[in-house]
Amino acid sequence: MSLPDGVERRSFGGDDEWLATRGEPVYGEPTDGEWRRWDARRSKLGAMFERGMEHGLEGGETVLYLGAAAGTTVSHVADIAGPTYAVEFAARPARDLLEAAEPRPNLFALLKDARSPETYAHVVEPVDAIVQDVATRGQANVALANRRFLREDGRLLLAVKPRSEDVVREPEAVLDEVLETLSEGYAILETRSLEPFHEDHFGVVATRR
């Protein structure tokens, strides 16, 4: 799958090519003119691009981002997307998320619990894509609870961290269980390991069913 409009591979002076978007720098990432480096090792979504997953993004979409943390990934998303709603539960990283949101008129930061979508459904409009990267038990249930935001033809881009569900069991077994729960509301298009960018993480692409 090709990259969405607004994401390019650029060299940043070295031999290697990196993903990059255009926008205000956020976390001290290297820049080249208006382009700033998007490091797939620091971003599950970036890793999903690098692994060539069928993300379905073309650029300009309306996005709901769950688990925005300090805003590293969501800032890149907002660089290429339309209205971008960033939900983060913890106050400390949300402080940094605000810094990313300030210069981006299309990035809306919300200090909310992704497990309780009714606390932000009065703010968030229906979206073309949900990006989810929450490190909590019940990752599939978070995706199911937020299904109401996804348009009929929209996509769920999910980073699954089996360690957050159960530290002891085999990651693959935990993943299967997550996928099974997920299939109550989603049709799963693709699942891939995010190695070598993220150990023991999986990328999942799904649509509504």
Binding site: P83, R95, L98, A109, L110, A121
Partner: protein
């Protein structure tokens, strides 16, 4: 399309377009069962002239709402206590590291070289040190050590306000460390006693869960006299008893907030009985 939006209201419902404070409150406290095409509804209802104006208002309102919410969450007293105890640990650690450097440096120049923060303190006040940089570095160690002491008394002053029962049982520093390890008093109150018992021993716990090691008997509560002062054979029991009382104390502190002196007496009795057991 208006009739289908009767029962759910967007955050902007009933707000004047310029009222950012009201908008922030609506975003923080409002709710809806399902999302809706809020931009279109806002334009239709006259809140905004077009989508751009709507998003501009939304941007301003979410920034303010989230800033307020972050500020409130971070100002909470238990969060302040966490900063203080971490800062204290940082100062102590750095003072120790620098003291080692001072000792090594001094050893190359002086016959009386000692070790540790105490030696760096004497050097800092010693007029006969002939190297200005060495003397200055020793001074930094002294200052950091002073700062750590000041932070410790700050923790001792504030911990009883944040968690009176927990502090009475555990002492201020251990109480603050327990709260810091889980991220807050509320989080600690929600942990089962078995988790409190091994907080700070995560590495050993996970090694155990993977089947490579015996279960850890205690985490940082080892620093408590009730555990450390008990014979190794009975430390597991002591740790379990202590963790049970500590988590009850944390729950009272979080949910009720009043002092329950009987907790200390109960803990004291339990530990006394455990320590009186025979040792094989």
């Amino acid at each position: 399309m208006t009739d289908e939006h009767q029962d759910a209201a967007g955050w902007f419902e009933g707000l004047d377009p310029g009222d950012t404070a009201g908008a922030a409150t609506a975003i923080r406290e409002g709710s809806a069962d399902a999302p809706d095409d809020w931009p279109a509804i806002a334009v239709e209802s006259g809140f905004a002239d077009d989508d751009d104006e709507y998003y501009e208002a939304l941007h301003e309102a979410t920034l303010r709402a989230t800033r307020e919410a972050v500020h409130e969450a971070e100002r909470a007293d238990d969060k302040q206590l966490i900063h203080a105890i971490r800062a204290m640990d940082d100062c102590e650690r750095v003072a120790n590291e620098l003291a080692e450097r001072v000792a090594e440096w001094a050893g190359s120049r002086r016959g009386d070289a000692g070790t540790g923060v105490a030696y760096a303190r004497t050097l800092a006040d010693d007029e006969t040190v002939d190297d200005r940089r060495l003397a200055s570095l020793a001074g930094r160690v002294r200052d950091l050590d002073d700062e750590a002491a000041a932070l410790r008394s700050h923790v001792e002053r504030t911990a009883p306000e944040v968690a009176p029962n927990l502090t009475a049982l555990a002492g201020a520093v251990l109480a603050a460390r327990l709260i810091a390890l889980v991220g807050g008093l509320k989080q600690l109150a929600r942990k089962p006693a078995g988790t409190v018992q091994v907080l700070g021993a995560e590495e050993a716990l996970f090694a155990h869960l993977r089947g490579r090691a015996p279960s850890p008997k205690h985490g940082i509560i080892f620093t408590h006299e009730a555990v450390r002062g008990t014979h190794p054979e009975h430390r597991g029991s002591a740790a379990r008893a202590l963790a049970g009382k500590l988590s009850i104390a944390a729950r009272i502190d979080h949910y009720a907030g009043d002092r329950r002196p009987e907790l200390e007496a109960e803990l004291h009795d339990r530990i006394e009985r455990i320590q009186a057991r025979d040792v094989e």
